[in-house]
């Protein structure tokens, strides 16, 4: 098993006090990426309360410090005797049972900032503490993927390009609706005029870029067309099943959309989507309430995504993360404030799932970061490096280019 080899390597290096550099991980990843592996990154902006998502119900301190917002043990989906999953994530339970869903708890950034602004910046640049890295790590990842003929290898859901995708490599933005932004070039006569204006200008870079732009736009639109038709078909079937009641379409549509894009356009390897609304300072609720209401559609969207990928699921990793966790103690307003360590979610066919990984320092004051937050005992980049090396099969040099200066000193995959 690749994963076991990986862990073996980690154990060997840490035992000998060698620094198990990000590069070392890629030793067995030297076979080139075959282009079929996919990565989807989901960022929850605002700092989701990881302690109420994957709940350490086995830590007695948990119920003591969260008297009004703790999720009762009875309502949790029990994972391993120590951790339980929030009931609003019920759509993800089958994946846990399939062992394709895992969590890395107490993970996060080595940088101590509790500013959304800075923490998101670091999560997306991939270089915590440095304010001068202008590219995002997903963009640097694209540059390391094998060159393909297709112009579209990465898709960002949303109108603007997020920080994580900023950089020289091309990324197509797709509106989070059923169809790509309508462009004037979708009108055949107008497209013809612009073709004539741009194409065939010898020595003019814009001519080439225009050609690429058109090809990328068509490719995405075609994929979205197919996706929309499939979705309509599915909805029709569901409406029949529901005796004619129309179904609401909320933001969990992202799952179907990304799945359809991946299925219809094999050259797409990377996708990104983000959601806000996790900054629960006030009345965050417990088994029900504000946080629960946000988790439900997210879980449904992720389940739709996993199902929608079909056979591609086995080649896909989905990573869900947030800029920081929240305070271990609840505050005076039935909420939690900006904290530190959090939980990363890993979903996909190649995940060694059915496990919660963590170096658990506990919720007693002595184990907390600055006596208030869950400690981040696993660097988020360790988890990402694993995904890139072992799943995306990127080479030694590639990893160093994506996470410069990063030297993981710990294996992220230890049991709590």
């Amino acid at each position: 098993m690749r994963r076991r080899e990986f862990l073996g390597l980690m154990a060997a290096t840490s035992a000998s006090y060698l620094v198990p550099h990000c590069r070392a991980w890629a030793i067995k990843s030297d076979q080139p990426n075959n282009g079929g592996k996919k990565l989807i990154v989901v960022i929850l902006r605002g700092g989701v309360d990881g302690l109420n998502v994957i709940v350490p119900h086995g830590d007695p301190e948990y119920y003591a410090i969260r008297s009004s917002i703790a999720v009762p043990s009875a309502s949790l989906f029990h994972l391993d005797g120590h951790f339980g999953m929030h009931p609003s994530l019920s759509a993800l339970q089958p994946f846990w049972q399939d062992k394709t869903l895992a969590f890395v708890h107490a993970s996060g950034s080595p940088d101590p900032t509790r500013s959304h602004f800075d923490a998101q910046d670091y999560l997306e640049s991939g270089v915590p503490g440095s304010k001068l890295v202008s590219t995002g790590w997903l963009n640097r990842l694209i540059a390391q993927l094998p060159a393909k003929n297709s112009p579209v290898r990465a898709i960002s859901i949303g109108p603007t390009l997020p920080r994580i995708f900023s950089g020289p490599a091309t990324v197509a933005t797709v509106a989070p609706e059923t169809k790509d932004h309508p462009m004037v070039v979708d009108h055949p006569a107008i497209q013809k005029a612009f073709d004539q204006l741009y194409l065939g200008r010898k020595g003019d870079e814009l001519s080439k870029v225009y050609g690429e732009a058109l090809a990328a736009h068509k490719e995405v639109n075609q994929a979205l067309d197919i996706a929309q038709k499939q979705d309509e078909q599915m909805r029709r079937e569901q409406i029949i099943a529901n005796r004619g009641a129309p179904l609401p379409r909320n933001y969990n549509y992202f799952g179907k959309q990304i799945a359809a894009l991946f299925r219809t356009d094999p050259s797409v390897q990377v996708a990104f989507v983000d959601f806000g609304g996790w900054d629960t300072h006030i009345n965050q609720g417990a088994a029900q309430g504000q946080l629960a209401n946000h988790l439900t559609p997210l879980a449904a969207g992720l389940a739709d995504l996993a199902h929608g990928l079909g056979p591609l699921y086995k080649d896909t990793q989905i990573i869900v993360m947030s800029e920081f966790g929240r305070t271990a103690h609840e505050n005076g307003n039935g909420g939690t404030d900006h904290g530190h360590g959090n939980v990363m979610w890993l979903l996909g066919g190649t995940i060694a799932g059915g496990k919660v990984y963590a170096r658990w320092a506990g919720l007693k004051t002595a184990g907390l970061y600055e006596s208030r937050d869950l400690a981040a005992t696993t660097d988020f980049r360790s988890v990402l490096c694993y995904a890139l090396a072992d799943h995306m099969r990127l080479s030694t040099t590639a990893l160093a280019a994506i996470f410069p200066e990063f030297q993981p000193t710990t294996d992220p995959f230890v049991r709590a």
Partner: protein, 535 residues
């Protein structure tokens, strides 16, 4: 390449009567091929005598070039105006914005006035909303639980700020007669970038630009540096308000240790440049010098705080490191705020700063990879004039490099310039700025929103990519067709538009394409043409 460009209007298939401007365009084009036709020829810097004899010396290409570089793109009539007054009087006019009547001076409401507000008053307002929001917190959270989309007072406050500042910025870039000042204000803003998304800076970026950047855009670099250093927006953005001598009397809470952030960027980005010859030791020493420099939390100054500048920055002696320091080999005795000024003096006068600033200006105004000899000459001027920005500009504008044929139309427009130059070319005053703001956001250049302190780039590498080119074409077509949502205007007839933006001269491929298209598509094609993507 220029030789092959043709005059749009002289072609036979435009049989309609040739307007007067087109005739001017035609004759000017004739003189162009003589003055700057061959790449081998020495570039022709327009002479001062061209001032007296504007019929001959200043070619139309040169007029377009100077307009492109000193403004956000020509408006209808601009080419004619500069041709009539002469290039150097135009340059001199723009280099002295204080002598150009500013219509915004008499505006005392709306977005323009919002950008003039005092940062500390804004902070007080913010704190008040925050306090009342705590009271209303439960209601707000209840709405959240029920899935109601209510906007909190705070969100409202910030959203309003954001709109106002960005609108004011667009109003000025589109409409200010002091165009060079606006072009340089944008340049310096990016040089001294502050990001709108960092907490209270959302309420401060507009005033920051208006108070710390615009007034000094053509002044002394030292004044500009000082103004940014003494503005709460910068002190908050780069965390210096927390920068405190450890174990000092005033050290407590989140103000209890050294914070190097601002000190580092002050040398790396604002003055010396990354290779400017400083070490990590210098960063720490400068951070120590900067300890205690922050801003007032309340409109009334707390006891012990010394005001610095006019916009709420303060110096707190109780958090300052009064020990001796050595910065770049020079000894500083612990004198308090005077040390900060001394350090800024030294950094502003440093040869590395002269070179770095000159390089960036030449990159912005001349070419993405600016000629070394030009940068050296600008740098010399900088040092000789104690960092006089106007003098450095003047050296650049009188250089053969600036006027070299290969440096005309060689810059790829940033999204801001593309959007603003489109509106200026059409010559309308937007009634609804939202579609322009949305376009900038989609293009990845939302004003004031660049995260990191290095600011938006202005080079082609940063902006030319397939996704954004298609969106530009989309935008150009919408604007050129008179269909920008929320705005009522009639786009000019395409020949008039062509005369405005390029004196009517376009490549044969563009001319042929336009000739083959129906009337209503011609203006959109001009604004979406490869020619209009550059300047």
């Amino acid at each position: 390449m220029k030789n092959f460009w043709v005059v749009l209007f002289s072609l036979a298939f435009f049989s309609a009567s040739v307007p007067q401007t087109a005739e001017a365009a035609g004759s000017a084009a004739g003189s162009t091929s003589e003055s700057s036709g061959g790449a081998a020829k020495t570039p022709h810097v327009p002479t001062a005598s061209a001032v007296q004899d504007h019929s001959a010396s200043a070619s139309q290409d040169q007029v377009i070039h100077i307009l492109n570089r000193l403004s956000f793109g020509p408006r209808p009539g601009d080419i004619e105006r500069v041709q009539a007054m002469g290039i150097w009087p135009y340059v001199s006019e723009q280099l002295n914005p204080q002598d150009i009547p500013d219509p915004f001076n008499s505006i005392h409401s709306g977005p323009i006035e919002a950008s003039r507000r005092n940062p500390i008053e804004l902070l007080a307002e913010y704190n008040q909303i925050r306090a009342s929001e705590r009271t209303n917190a439960m209601n707000y959270a209840d709405n959240q639980v029920r899935g109601r989309r209510t906007m909190s007072e705070m969100q409202n406050f910030f959203r309003n700020m954001d709109r106002q500042y960005v609108t004011a910025k667009l109003q000025r870039t589109i409409d200010s007669p002091r165009q060079l000042q606006e072009v340089l204000t944008e340049f310096w803003y990016q040089h001294f970038n502050v990001c709108i998304n960092k907490d209270i800076d959302r309420a401060w970026v507009g005033p920051y630009e208006d108070q710390a950047i615009r007034p000094y855009a053509l002044g002394r670099f030292r004044d500009l540096l000082g103004a940014t250093c003494h503005h709460p927006a910068m002190l908050f953005y780069l965390d210096n308000w927390q920068n405190t001598a450890p174990q000092s009397k005033g050290a407590k809470g989140n103000q209890k240790g050294l914070n190097e952030n601002y000190a580092r960027e002050l040398m790396e980005l604002h003055t010396l440049g990354v290779d400017g010859g400083y070490t990590q030791r210098d960063v720490i020493e400068l951070a120590r010098i900067l300890t205690g420099l922050g801003f007032s939390q309340t409109p009334k100054l707390a006891p012990g705080l010394q005001p610095v500048g006019n916009f709420g920055a303060t110096f707190d002696p109780s958090r300052h490191d009064f020990g001796g320091k050595t910065l770049l080999g020079r000894h500083f005795s612990g004198t308090g705020e005077a040390e900060v000024e001394e350090a800024l003096d030294m950094l502003a006068r440093h040869p590395s700063t002269a070179h770095y600033i000159s390089y960036k200006m030449a990159q912005y105004f001349v070419a993405d990879s600016p000629p070394r000899a030009l940068v050296d000459r600008m740098s010399k001027t900088y040092l000789a004039t104690d960092g006089n920005i106007k003098a450095v500009m003047s050296t650049m504008l009188h250089s053969p490099e600036f006027w070299a044929a290969e440096n005309e139309n060689n810059k790829y427009k940033t999204p801001l310039r593309f959007v603003v130059s489109s509106v200026r070319a059409i010559g309308f005053e937007p009634q609804d700025y939202n579609p322009l703001i949305d376009m900038l956001r989609e293009q990845g250049e939302a004003p004031y929103a660049y995260l990191t302190p290095d600011g938006y780039k202005n080079t082609k590498d940063a902006w030319l990519n397939p996704d954004s080119l298609l969106k530009r074409i989309n935008f150009a077509t919408t604007v050129g067709a008179g269909a920008l949502p929320g705005n009522r205007y009639s786009p000019p007839e395409y020949r008039r538009l062509g005369a405005t933006i390029a004196g009517g001269k376009f490549s044969p491929q563009t001319v042929a394409t336009i000739a083959a298209q129906p009337q209503e598509l011609r203006s959109p094609l001009l604004l979406g043409s490869p020619e209009f993507m550059r300047y």
